[in-house]
Each structure stands twice: as structure tokens, then as C-alpha cells.
Amino acid sequence: MRLDLFLALRFLREGRAQTALIVGGTAVGVAVFFFLNALVAAVERGMVAQTLDALPHVVLRPRPEAPRTPPSPDGAAAVSHVQRAPQRLRAVDQWQAVAREVSAAPGVRAVAAVASGPAMASRGEASRSVSLIGVDPEAYRRVLVALPGRVVEGDLRLGPSEVVVGIELAEELGLTRGDTLRVATAAGARAFVVAGLFDLGTRDQNLRWVLTAYRSAQALHALPGASALEVRLDDAWAAAEVADRLRRRTGLRVESWMDLNGRLLAALRSQRGSTRAIQAFVGLAAVAGIASVLVVSVVQRQRQIGILRAMGLSRGGVQRLFLVQGAVIGLLGAAAGVAIGSVLALVFETSARHPDGTPLYPVQLSPALYAASALLALGAGLAAAFTPARRAARLDPAEAIRRD
């Protein structure tokens, strides 16, 4: 066995109570790190599943129409006021080609063309302003992956005369499956049969979305093609970056879910930020705890260090001896902390459940999380040992042996 490891283990074993205390402290730090990470990842996955799986990550639309100002040969202003242009419902130019290009872009998982626009839905005397969205159900379920699971009644077949509406609109208009719903747009009006009801979890979607077949919506909105392309990405957090890239490539108006859902983004970011802050403080506390024990150990063992130096142990050897002690404390703390953190995470998963018994936030204990916890503890141990180790290495052997 390496001498530094042998002596480090014996020194730690000799001061059992002290070692147990600091390993326990480190374990608590690692457990907090591990549990918080597992918890935040589970909650984030839950939030993402509930929100981002029911939203397109990126949406491409035609650029807003802007009025043309007359050119002025001498550079002086030719007009004093330009009235903003009203935005007509327009289709994406060459949308099939754009859709193919977007599909091939890195990070893009699925693309769906939609023909959507404002409409008025009415039944009897009651009417509501809605968004009539025409989709190909097969393509759309790959973009809004949560949608099939959120159909609470009927299904997403979407025949040419069928619509699927949100539960809140159904409530407002007194709709049930099989009822007739009249939808009017600026270009025309027609009746649809309600084929199903969905609950996407947000009031706006449940009250305003009316899904129908792509061709039916296209005809009713008098659109020559798709009004938008909706995109799902491999990584929802890369949406802003992918949107930038697609904007430059297509020249269209491209918005990410982050642009469209500022509050959700802020909530997720602040959750991540506060978790990092807690972890940083926990890490600092672990480093301070290990360092304090090792500083005391150096003071207590000055004579022993002096003897080892007298017997030929180099300054580097003394330094390694204390660094190894820090590393051993860190690794022992990691093992215990990961065990405690795993139990806490599983208890959390067991206690927070849906009414059907499935976990509210399924915890995934990934190998990366285990590795990160071990590395954190090892790093904390080495960082904490650095100063005491240097101090021990600098001890004058003659002086150290003389001291009581």
C-alpha cells in the first residue's frame, strides 16, 4: 500500500470520533447536494412535462408586414408619420421547403405545419373568441407530445368536419362529444362536430384552442398554405439558440417558448439559481468543516510530522499525506451522503403521488448525479486539505519534534 494512504488511514482511524464527525458533516453536505439535484431535476422534468410538452418549443411565422416608406434622394425625411400596417393572416412562403430545411436543422426533433387564426365559436346563443388551429394529427402529436395523453374524452382523429376543443371552452359553450359547434372566421363559417375534449393544463389553451384538420382550417382561414411551423427540439433549453439559428437561415419571424413564456422561464431559472446557491453554500460548509478538522490534526500531529521528516519523508510526502486524508474524508462522505440522498429522494417520490398512485415527480438517480456527488466531495476534501497540507509540509522538523 502507498505509504501516504496507509498513514492517512491510520491517522483517520486513530481519531475515530473526529473522523466520524467530519465524515458525517460531509455526508450531510453531499446528501443535500444529491437530494436537491434529484429533486430539482424531477420537479423540472415534471414542470417541463406539464408545460413544455404541451407547447411548441419554437414557432416560425411570416415576418410582420411593415409599410414601405417612399425613398428620399437627399436623405431628408419625406414623410412625418408612418402608420403601422394591420397584420393580415398570411401563410409562410414556400412552407414545405422551409419545413424540410427546419427538419434537417441540428437539434430539431419534429416539425408540424399549422393553419391557425382567430375565429368565433358559437353554439346557440353563446359564443367565444377562439383560435382555430388546423393540424395534421400525426405530425402535431410529435410536436405537442403531451397532447394525446391530455385528450380526456374522444380522440384526436380530426376528420374534415371534426374539432377537438378544450374542457373550459366546452364548459363555457355547454359542449359534449358529438355536439355541433359553429366556427366563423373573417373568410367564412361552417359547422363542426366535437370529436373530443382536451385538458392541456392552462386556461388559455383550454378556453381558446379549437383543433381541426389542417385542410379544413386552411380553407376556413382562406390561407394558401401553413400560417406557422411549430417545432419540437431535442433539448427545450436550447430553444433560444436554435431559434436564432433558424431566424438567420429562414428570414422568418422565429420565436422560442422562452420568448412566449417569460414567466415560466423565470420560474425555472430562479429555481435552478436558488438550487445552485444552496449547493454552493453547502459545499463551502463542507470544505470549512473538513479544513478545520485537518488544521486541528496538523497541530495535534506536529511532533509526528517532525519524526516522519526526520526519518526521511519529504515535504511533498507530508503534503500528500494530508491531501490523501482530505480525499479519504471526501470519498467516505460521498458514499454515505449518496446513500442518504438516495433514500431521501425515494421517500420524496413515494410521498408525492398522483391520485392514481403514480409518482408526481418521478426521481431519476442518474450515474452522472452519482459521479457529480463523488467529484464534489472529493474536490471539497482536496480543497479543504490544501492549506493544512501546505502548513504541515512547511513545518521545521527540529522545531516540530521539540514542541509538546
Partner: protein, 232 residues
């Protein structure tokens, strides 16, 4: 192979301590310790015996003068080279033995061998147990150092000092914590090792009786060698 010159030699060595107020402890000491010698260093408290031992043991550098090991000047050596030379050439025995209490007797003795090789090997422990056996501690080799009596600890410390077959063992009051019978026995063990192994011993002691049994006695007073007596 025979090494050139004395095992340890001091040439005009002085040592002073302090910053703004300098306290001289050793004054221009010239001294040579030959291989296989058994030497006592005596003198009243504060005469500079321990400082002399530290300088000879390469634990401390002289303020002026030169320390040579087998004719090699140690002044130009860096800290690591000095440490390596010390580990291979000089053994130490201290009054309080200074064993590592977390280790067994055999492990304590094996530590210098492990330092030399960077790792503790089973043959190091076997060699240590063999040496402890020759010192009458065969049955205590696997006992924690902290659980041994003072006399047993002294023997373990002696074995540790000898395990790398150094040229010189420097012993600072090695019998100071023992009763007279144990001190006699300890001294006899050192003398036996000196004769059997040919290792030079330099023993700092207050005990005139033990000093009288050495072939050479060096008397220090106020940091100077005032007597260097050799017996035939």
C-alpha cells in the same frame, strides 16, 4: 564499499537563533564521528547538546560552518536532497521515543523502509518483526505502540532507528524516561547494536554513569566543546 572520511564531520559550526536579538548556541565546533564509534555527549542543560544533535542530524542547518556526511558537504543540498540523505544515513532515538501511536510496533519500525520505497510492503514489516525479535520484542510486534511500556517503546524506537542500517544513530537522552535498571539494559542494547552492526552511536545523556561506559565522551559547555576524551 568503504565511504571516504568520517561518517559525520562538523567544521567550524556555529548556530544562533533569533531575529533582532541573536542568541548564539553553538560556537565554532569542529568534530568528527567515525563509523562504528560509541560516543557520549554530556554537558549541563542549555549547553547546546540538542542543537548540536539537530545540526549533526541534518534537521537544522548551521548559521556558519560546514556539515559533511562521508566527506560530502551538505550545505549546498536542497531540502529534498538533505531529507533523502538524512533518511538513508542517520537514525534517531528520542527521549520520549516519539513513536506513531496509531501504528503497531512493527509498522513503526517499518516506516523508514516504507519512506525509502514510497510504499509499505509486507517484507518491510517482516524485516521490522525480525529486528524487534533481536531486541526481545517478538511477541509485541503487532501491538499498538501506544499500548507498550516505556522500556518496550524505547526498544521499538531503537529498532526504528536501525532498520535502514544507518551510518550513525543520534540518540537524545534515550534513557531519560527509564528507571536505572531499564536505562542500563537500554544502553547495553545500544552498545550491542554498535558492536554487532558497526553503526556509530552518538548519545546525548545527563547520566555520567552511562557516559562513562562509552569509548568517547564529548563535553559541551556554553556551546563549545571543552573536552573530547577517548578511551583505549
Amino acid at each position: 564499499m568503504t565511504e571516504p572520511g568520517p561518517a559525520l564531520a562538523l567544521h567550524g559550526v556555529s548556530r544562533a537563533f533569533g531575529g533582532s536579538v541573536v542568541t548564539p548556541v553553538l560556537h565554532g565546533i569542529d568534530l568528527a564521528i567515525d563509523a562504528g564509534e560509541l560516543t557520549a555527549v554530556v554537558g549541563p542543560s542549555g549547553s547546546g547538546k540538542s542543537t548540536l544533535l539537530n545540526v549533526m542530524g541534518l534537521l537544522d542547518r548551521p548559521t556558519t560552518g560546514r556539515v559533511e556526511v562521508f566527506g560530502r558537504d551538505t550545505g549546498a543540498l536542497d531540502e529534498d536532497a538533505l531529507t533523502a540523505l538524512r533518511g538513508g544515513t542517520i537514525g534517531f532515538v528520542f527521549q520520549s521515543h516519539h513513536l506513531l501511536p496509531a501504528l503497531t510496533a512493527a509498522e513503526n519500525v517499518a516506516v523508514p523502509l516504507a519512506i525509502a520505497h514510497g510504499r509499505l510492503l509486507p517484507e518491510h514489516v517482516a524485516r521490522a518483526e525480525e529486528l524487534l525479535g533481536t531486541l526481545g520484542l517478538a511477541g509485541h510486534a503487532r501491538v499498538r505502540a501506544g499500548a507498550l511500556s516505556g522500556g518496550q517503546q524505547q526498544r521499538v524506537a531503537l529498532a526504528r532507528a536501525l532498520v535502514r542500517r544507518p551510518a550513525v544513530v543520534l540518540a537524545d537522552e534515550p534513557t531519560g524516561n527509564l528507571d536505572s535498571a531499564a536505562a542500563d539494559a537500554a544502553f547495553e542494547r545500544m552498545r550491542a547494536m554498535n558492536e554487532q552492526l558497526g553503526v556509530a552511536f552518538l548519545v546525548v545523556t545527563h547520566d555520567a554513569r552511562l557516559a562513562g561506559r562509552c569509548r568517547r565522551v564529548i563535553r559541551l559547555l556554553d556551546g563549545r566543546v571543552v573536552e573530547d576524551l577517548r578511551r583505549g
